[in-house]
Symmetry: C2
C-alpha cells in the first residue's frame, strides 16, 4: 500500500486524525531513563507503544536524533513501529530541500536508510527538487506550505500577483502541477484556521499535516472545521510536547496515552 492509502486506512481503522510528533529531548525525560545509553529509543518506543492505537501516524523529528549522534536509535525506532504497529505510517520530519543528485541522496537517507513512509520537504527550490522524492511511488512527500511560526509570514504571506499569497501559490502548484502521482501532502500550521480553509479549498482531497495544536496553542475545533474533507478526514493533526511530556514520572507513557486519547476525542467531536 502507498503512504496515502495507509494513512486513509489509519484514519478509518483507528478513528483518528491525530499524529504524535516524536521530538525527544533528553533533558525532559523521566528520571528512570536519564543517562541510559538508548534513552532516546526507549522513551520514544514507550510513547509509541502507549499511543499507537490512537493515532493515524507518528512523526519523528530527525534533528533531535542528529544533534545527539542517535541516528541508530532513530533507525531502531522506525523499525519498531513497522514491526509492532503495522499500518501506522511514519513521517520523517526532516524538511529537506535540494536538487538533482543531492536530493536523491536525501531520499535514500529517508526512505532506504530510515525506512520512513513519508518525509517533509521544503518547496523553495521548486519542482525538480521534489521529483527525486516522487521516484519512490509508495512514499509520501509532504511539502511546507504555511508554517505556524511568527516569521512564517516573512515570505509565505507575500503577494505574488492578483492577491495570491506565496503559500497559496505553493498549494496551487502542488495540487495542479507537482502532484501528478498523488503522493503529495502539505504542511499548514494550526495557528491560522482561515488559511487552512483556504488551502483545503485549493487542494481538494490532498492530505494536510497540521502542527501547532497543544503546546503551540492552536485551536482544535477551528482546525478541524477548517481542514477536514467532506468525508471528515484529510488531516494529520500533530501534537508533540503536550503528549510526550504530559507526565514526568515512571508512568509517563500512561500520561501520554491519556492526553493522546483526549486529543483524539477532542478532534473527533468536530469531524
Amino acid at each position: 500500500m502507498t503512504f496515502v492509502e495507509t494513512l486513509a486506512a489509519a484514519w478509518r481503522g483507528r478513528n483518528s486524525l491525530l499524529c504524535v510528533g516524536l521530538d525527544p529531548d533528553p533533558a525532559r525525560f523521566p528520571a528512570h531513563l536519564q543517562g541510559r545509553p538508548d534513552a532516546i529509543f526507549e522513551f520514544c518506543r514507550d510513547i509509541v507503544d502507549a499511543t499507537a492505537d490512537l493515532v493515524c501516524s507518528f512523526k519523528p523529528q530527525i534533528a533531535y536524533f542528529a544533534a545527539r549522534r542517535a541516528e541508530d536509535q532513530l533507525e531502531a525506532l522506525i523499525a519498531h513501529i513497522h514491526t509492532a504497529h503495522p499500518g501506522v505510517p511514519v513521517i520523517l520530519d526532516a524538511k529537506r530541500g535540494d536538487i538533482g543528485s543531492t536530493a536523491e541522496q536525501y531520499a535514500v537517507e529517508a526512505f532506504e536508510r530510515f525506512r520512513a513512509d513519508a518525509v517533509t520537504i521544503n518547496p523553495y527550490m521548486g519542482r525538480d527538487s521534489v521529483e527525486p522524492w516522487l521516484a519512490y511511488p509508495d512514499k509520501g512527500v509532504i511539502l511546507l506550505c504555511r508554517t505556524s511560526n511568527p516569521g512564517g509570514s516573512d515570505l509565505q504571506f507575500l503577494d505574488v500577483g492578483g492577491g495570491e499569497k506565496l503559500f497559496e501559490r505553493v498549494a496551487r502548484l502542488v495540487a495542479s502541477e507537482w502532484n501528478t502521482t498523488g503522493q503529495c501532502a502539505l504542511v499548514v500550521g494550526a495557528t491560522f484556521p482561515q488559511e487552512i480553509a483556504r488551502v483545503r479549498e485549493l487542494v481538494g482531497e490532498v492530505p494536510l499535516l497540521v502542527p501547532g495544536i497543544g503546546a503551540q496553542g492552536g485551536d482544535i475545533e477551528a482546525t478541524v472545521r477548517a481542514g477536514r474533507t467532506a468525508s471528515g478526514g484529510g488531516l494529520m493533526i500533530n501534537s508533540s510536547r503536550a503528549i510526550l511530556y504530559a507526565g514526568k514520572g515512571e508512568d509517563f507513557a500512561g500520561e501520554a496515552r491519556r492526553v493522546a486519547l483526549a486529543t483524539r476525542e477532542a478532534i473527533n467531536l468536530h469531524r
Copy 2:
C-alpha cells in the same frame, strides 16, 4: 576569528575564491578505494590535502554521508580539515530549515557535533527560523537565495510586488533586517550572472556562495564580474564534481589538484 573573518583571510592569504564541494559518491571512487570501510573519508581527505592551499573553503554535502550511515566519516573529515589545514573554513551544506527548538537541535548538529564553521539554510520559514543559528556568533549562516536548477524559478522568480522577485526580497531582507550580526551570506547560482549582479547590488559586501560552475556549466568570467566586490573578493565559487572526479586512477587527488589550480587561476583572471 569568526567565519566571515576566516573567509576573508583565506581569500587574501590563499589568493583564491574557489570553494571545493565534497559530494562523495562511492560509485565514482577510484578502484583502489572501492570497498574500503572508510572509503568516503579517505577519498575526501585525499582531495582536501591535495587542494587545501588553493581554496577559500571546503563544502561537504551532508546528504552524501547520511545516505550511507557515514556521519562518523563526516565528523572525522571536518576534524581533519581543522587540524591539518587551519584557516580553511568548512561550510556544511545541509540546507536545513525549521523553527524554535528544532532549529536549535539542527544548529547543535552542524556546529557542535560536526564542528562546521558555516551552514547553508533555507529561508522559507522566515526570520525566526534563522535566529537559532545566529546564536553562535562565530559561525556563518548562508541562506538560499537564487538556486541554479530549472525549478529554482518556480517560486524564487515570482513577482512579490513592484517588479521585485522573491529572491530579491530574500536578498534585501537578509541585508537590511536579518543580518544584524554580520554572520550571513547568500547562495546564488552561477547560471544567472545578471541575477548575481543584482544580488550583489542589493547586499553590499555580504559574501555569496556560488554553485554551478564546472559540471553544471556556469560561466566563470561572467560569474566573477557579476559577483565580485570592489576589492575583488566576496565570492565562494563552488566546484564539486569537476574537481572530485577529474581523475579515475590512483592519482585522482593529483588530477583534482590540477583542475582546482586551473579553476582558481581562471577565477583570478577576472577578479
